[in-house]
Amino acid sequence: MLTIRNLRGGYGRIEVLHGVSLSVRRGEVVALVGANGAGKSTLLKAVSGLLPQWTGEVLFDGRPLQGKKPPEIVALGVGLVPEGRWIFPPMSVVDNLRLGAYLRLRRGDHKGVEEELERVYELFPILAERRRQPAGILSGGEQQMLAMGRALMTRPRMLLLDEPTTGLAPLLVEKIFQIIARLRDESLTFLLVEQNAQGALALADRGYVLETGRMVLQGRARELLEDQEVKRAYLGRDYKEFVEGRV
């Protein structure tokens, strides 16, 4: 569904991704893990059209995304939940969600959008409760759900998630992962970027490890979980962070 070949790109003259390749098949959850600054977010930005310059090949459903602007890519069915949530604080929850349906409302699909709203509310009941409140007063976890809900409103066939669980309490992390699993069962495809390598690989079908702009490992998620290298570099650190850093 998504094929990336030899992707190079960065900011200005600084190259962040030095020829990265990755593929995601329909219905899969693919985890992309790696340390801070490895270039994970940059890769998602390139796919969603937010990175102004890159070379290489990115195909979605066989169609090249090179040169396409974000709205066109959204229209093709690629949704992005950006890092740091990026919700619009003064706007109400429902307005944030409706914003996700911008392109569909432009086509006049009001009925479909209202149905989609109901589906999002069913997935995240807390958003229904708070639909009239400004998004800025939601808790971190609720904002994350709102960001996911907003991306779902674009009715994507593939969702790019950038660290959806960072900074959330363990219970909420579990909940977000459950929702991803459920959406996968409803045939949504995921490219999931996570700091929480353990959780992400446990959920994913396949995984990739990105290190300073290069893919260093890839394979079935279960095998990566067992991989000594990965354990040492990421899982161990996660564990330490969990014990020492987050208390």
Partner: protein
């Protein structure tokens, strides 16, 4: 605003206009209210750009002048009817804005501010120097008044009613716009362009469109001004005017439609009440802009309301 509240607000506003149009019979007051109405249109137009899309224009006086001089030239030199000139000047303002906005707004930051600053200066130079068309520094006289049916709408009661009916319609329209799909996208733009783009909003185009819309509203104010006053001169469309507009928006509150009315009233009435003010106008605006931005970044209207809420909840 929800549909019901919008209806109430509009009805109340229409009622106030009806009452005022009957009650105010002093010519000076009528004139003052007319000017406040025109300034409200200016503030509203700029607020759609500044308050919602988060972009600043330092040359909106050029669009104000384009509306006024455009119709002035077409009606006095070419004998057009004002109603024929009307769509043309509005379209011209929108087109000029789009052409300037499209490239400058693609870049982030304050490129539009620089671009419009230049535009404002060029506009003012043209109004002042193109003697054969604009009458140069001494201005243009004899711009015909508007007529509806057999009624002449001139400075006085009829002109005042005309301006306020237009303000009412503009309020209603902008309020709906802000609440629409486009309005949500606009508010999102002001917040984060990346996130708006991730929702499928073509940010560069939308900003150019709203800039264009704001220019059209501003030209509309210029059109009304020219036909009501009958005389225009370049000093009404200079840099100080552009700054006056920015000050009105800042005082009234960014992204506040009814705040525009307040900002316009303050900026119109202050020089009337304080005559010494006119010598230091620029300085006072500078000071006001600084103080409001530091202490009440939401604008006076919102700021005072918030302060009152605070007092209420404390007691």
């Amino acid at each position: 605003m929800t549909g019901k509240r919008r209806l109430w607000a509009t009805t109340a506003f229409a009622g106030a206009i009806a009452v005022a149009s009957m009650a105010v019979s002093n010519a000076y007051h009528q004139q003052l209210l007319t000017v406040i109405g025109i300034h409200t249109l200016l503030a509203l137009g700029l607020n759609m750009l500044m308050g919602y899309a988060g972009q600043i224009s330092l040359g909106h006086a050029a669009f104000y002048g384009l509306g006024a001089y455009g119709t002035g030239i077409l009606t006095t030199h070419y004998g057009w009817s004002p109603w024929a000139a009307f769509p043309l000047v509005l379209v011209a303002a929108g087109a000029v804005a789009y052409v300037i906005g499209r490239p400058t707004l693609k870049l982030s930051g304050y490129y539009l501010a620089m671009g419009t600053l230049g535009l404002g200066i060029i506009g003012h130079v043209i109004f002042r120097e193109w003697d054969s068309m604009t009458g140069g520094a001494s201005g243009m006289v004899g711009i015909p008044p508007l007529q509806v049916g057999g009624t002449v709408l001139s400075l006085g009661r009829s002109g005042m009613i005309l301006v306020w009916v237009v303000v009412l319609m503009a309020f209603f329209f902008c309020d709906r716009l802000v609440d629409s799909r486009i309005g949500r996208a606009l508010r999102a733009l002001g917040d984060s362009q990346g996130a708006a783009a991730a929702c499928g909003v073509d940010t560069g185009r939308l900003k150019a469109v709203i800039f264009s819309f704001s220019a059209v509203l501003t030209a509309l104010a210029g059109f009304l001004y020219a036909h009501l006053v009958g005389f225009i001169s370049p000093s009404s469309f200079d840099f100080l005017m552009s700054i006056r507009m920015v000050t009105m928006v800042v005082i009234g509150g960014m992204a506040s439609i009814y705040g525009s009315l307040f900002g316009a009233s303050v900026i119109t009435l202050l020089p009337e009440w304080l005559h010494v003010f006119s010598d230091y106008e620029m300085m006072v605006y500078g000071l006001v802009l600084m103080l409001v931005m530091i202490f009440l970044p939401q604008g006076l209207t919102r700021g005072v309301l918030d302060a009152l809420e605070g007092v209420k909840s404390e007691s």
